[in-house]
């Protein structure tokens, strides 16, 4: 059994030379006068289910705070995220963002599990309904609803590709389709001419994109 005590620490370096998610930390006040080069590199406290092959990394920034578990002899250091001195997280901001997804059936606290990135992107899941998706910081999102329907909403273009070279591109100029067997756009939405057999649609018919109206 290892007896651990929790200490407040500031991160002085997150660029672990061995790239294993370690953070160089300064315990405060215990290490307040220690030369930076001799400060310890704290190991991450793995969450349940993490392993060398399954891991989630979201390294905090230099200057931010962490709780560090230290043994009585000050020979081992493991960090935990989130020192409360920088304020507790408020779910309201995430709810405001998720409520922009009209197809999302519920954003009620505490049903939503989420991971808000530093960039503002959100991975989310409603643990009650099963809705799951990603909301981009621009407002674009992909949602699998509780029936398995997929909603992809973008504030800009959307490109869908498959492994056969088929593509669907939406843009300000409309929707373009491309099949994997040709380099040209040839949406062929009309049957061939009953009289000549020539195609009415596609490049031969002079149609390379679909537009409304």
């Amino acid at each position: 059994m290892i007896k651990l005590n929790l200490y407040y620490a500031k991160i002085t370096n997150n660029n672990d030379p061995v790239k294993k998610g370690k953070l160089q930390i300064r315990l405060l006040p215990e290490f307040k006068d220690i030369k930076e080069s001799l400060l310890p590199w704290a190991d991450p406290f793995f969450s349940i289910g993490s392993s060398t092959s399954s891991y989630s990394m979201n390294l905090p920034k230099i200057g931010s705070s962490v709780w560090v578990a230290v043994d009585e002899m000050f020979t081992s250091f493991n960090y935990l995220f989130g020192a409360p001195f920088e304020g507790l997280f408020d779910y309201a901001s995430v709810k405001t963002s998720l409520d922009t997804i009209s197809e999302l059936s519920s954003t009620t606290y505490p049903d939503i599990n989420f991971n808000l990135m530093e960039s503002g992107n959100i991975h989310f899941e409603n643990s009650v309904t099963g809705d799951i998706g990603i909301l981009h910081n621009t407002g674009s999102y992909v949602l699998f609803d509780n029936t398995g329907k997929i909603y992809a909403t973008s504030v800009g273009d959307i490109t869908i590709k498959d492994g056969n070279g088929n593509e669907v591109l939406t843009s300000t100029s409309g929707i373009q389709l491309k099949t994997g067997d040709a380099v040209t756009w040839k949406p062929n939405i009309l049957p061939n001419c009953l009289f000549t057999g020539a195609p009415h649609g596609g490049p031969t018919g002079g149609i390379t994109k679909l537009t409304g109206g």
Partner: protein, 398 residues
Amino acid sequence: MPTYENLYIINLSMNGTKIEIEPQGYSFSTTENIKSLYSTASISFEDTTGLIQEYLGTVPGTPIEIEFGNKDHTNKAIYVVNFDSLNEAESPGYITGKVDLFLIHENFFEHKIISKAYNNRISRIVRQLMGKYNFSKVDIDDTGNEDIWYQPLITDAKFIQERLLPHAYSYNASLSPFYSYITSNNEYHFRNMKSMYEEGKILTIEYKVISGDSDNDEDRSAENKVTSIKRWRNAYKNIWKIQNRSLFSIDTETGNLIEDNDSMIQYPAENNLKMPVIGNSTTPNSWHDDGTSETETGKKENKIGLRTSSNKDGMLIDEFLLLQPFNPILHAGKVIQLNVYTINREGSQLSNSFSGIYVVVECEHIWDGENSRAYTKLIVGRKYLSVSNSYLVKEQLR
């Protein structure tokens, strides 16, 4: 009969000023022990008028230098009053009577909290730290344990006693533990038990009552004769749990449990000697947490150091309390030859079981002003003894 002036050198100075009271007017003692860092002292005297207390001569923090010795050897160190007491007023209505002062070596009050890291061996760090203070000698055995050591806003003393000392390891110490202590001659020591023994005995002490004038043994001078002896053996229950231990650690690569075992007779191993206890040699009585597997030499040595220091209770299983005439060369950590005797048909016979080499665990030099005499009280101890093959119990001993 010689007076104390012919036999002893006694000087007490308070705040740098010699106390002008005749030594018959007070008693004091200095105590040092290899198991605790600070030597201590106590002084008791009659404040017949109450004026010493009135002028705040006994308040906590008062430095008192105690010089105590004989014409050949004196010990001198400064102690600081920790607290004073006046248990009973001699004259009702007046603050007069016997005052007792309890003092700690001045080093206790010199430390301040420090936030620092050291990338070095333990012995070098200890030398660097204790070298800053006012010791007459800093006596340090080398260790391994090269690592980064953190002193997290604690004093040098706490850092040494609680962080460095428990990890101290030296290949040369053959798995004997380290001790950190200050003696009444103002010396600081960071020593392993093997090194204490290797320094050799400083004298032979005898406990034997000689009738009439037959005491002409040259090797038995007056100061080496024990006047009182008492068995001071540790309780068996204190070491029972370290007889045999399972050692558990976690492999940091696989997360698997690594199992090993040890026995108290490995710390250190002495093939031809026996511990004076009967016990089993295989069944684990406890387990020791070895932490996680390590690959760096310094960290491996730290673990061995922890295993070794956790065996300290077994190092001094065989102890005696001795009272003898004052001998200022005796100090904690010194080694003596103790000769004790049994009675047989022919008369006296040197005890094979109890005579031998012992380390001084605790040394108290005492001045009894009322009786104008000085003496030295020792607790001496050892782990192993040489047992005669003819003793039936030998095979059952550890």
